[in-house]
Symmetry: C6
Subunit: 70 residues, 6 copies
Amino acid sequence: MSEFDTSLPSVRNIQNFIQEKNEVELKLVTDDLIVGKIVWQDVNCICLMDHYEQPTIVWRQAIVFIKPKP
Amino acid sequence: MSEFDTSLPSVRNIQNFIQEKNEVELKLVTDDLIVGKIVWQDVNCICLMDHYEQPTIVWRQAIVFIKPKP
Amino acid sequence: MSEFDTSLPSVRNIQNFIQEKNEVELKLVTDDLIVGKIVWQDVNCICLMDHYEQPTIVWRQAIVFIKPKP
Amino acid sequence: MSEFDTSLPSVRNIQNFIQEKNEVELKLVTDDLIVGKIVWQDVNCICLMDHYEQPTIVWRQAIVFIKPKP
Amino acid sequence: MSEFDTSLPSVRNIQNFIQEKNEVELKLVTDDLIVGKIVWQDVNCICLMDHYEQPTIVWRQAIVFIKPKP
Amino acid sequence: MSEFDTSLPSVRNIQNFIQEKNEVELKLVTDDLIVGKIVWQDVNCICLMDHYEQPTIVWRQAIVFIKPKP
């Protein structure tokens, strides 16, 4: 389980991606790379919205890395 | 272990999928993609019912993402 | 670590499989699918008995899903 | 982390394998299957001795299942 | 979840890599090897900056090993 | 997270490998096998020194087994 404290850099960075509507790449343990805008996060999950406005609720345990699109 | 607090977006979203009988796709760490309607969730598992009314009890630790079918 | 509270649906369902001697399929993180009857569960493991009355003690952390055989 | 309480079936079963010097198969998350006699267990690890009296200290987190050799 | 106590060798070593701007290799559970300079760490994540000054926020749970480049 | 209590066999064994400068094989979840001498351990990591005196900081969560070289 992740710690979910809004003063942590990891939590704040994601909060910034949400506010600034940054497009991000999310690499998953299955080696999938999904792309979209993060719309919310909680202690268990991060929700990504793709180009077709379809949400994907990603479990934090399955995340390998997040990269903001340059 | 996941946190199971019904005020969390991740828990509420799944609760909505149950109530609205949304069909969802569940991606698993084994790269399997299973499709069905969620019938219950608890702190350990999510139970999916397929088209033949057969249940699959999925461990939360094995979930990568959930996508409601558009 | 799983929560092991007998009032949870996930724990009760497995308890029912034990009492009713249901045959189940257990999908594991290694992609193995093992078949048998569950004979006991505790907070760490689930024990499956195959057709030759050979036990397999499966770690909960390695379980992806359980499906009762129809 | 596993619970390590000697009254648990999973812990007692392994204690029996140690005392009765049962040969066991250990399936690991890397899909390796190692064979030997368990010589000790603690909350983190299980130690297996092979035919050449070489020990392997296996992390519990990496165990998928244990099967006593028939 | 990792322990995040700055007196631990693992946390201090990474703190040193940050201060000395060491280039490191990070091996991930997906078998990816990413190279860069660590710019921050918290209890959940480690942030790596690549040659193009692009950040990658890596989840600790997905790290296999870190090697400073010789 | 592992328990890190120096009275545990798993922690003591590694402490012995450090003191006796035993060469060990470390099998990782990515199926890598790395060889070297353990130079320190803490609750999160184990540090291995290879033949070229290059350190590798291995996350405990990624360890499958340790084998002392015979």
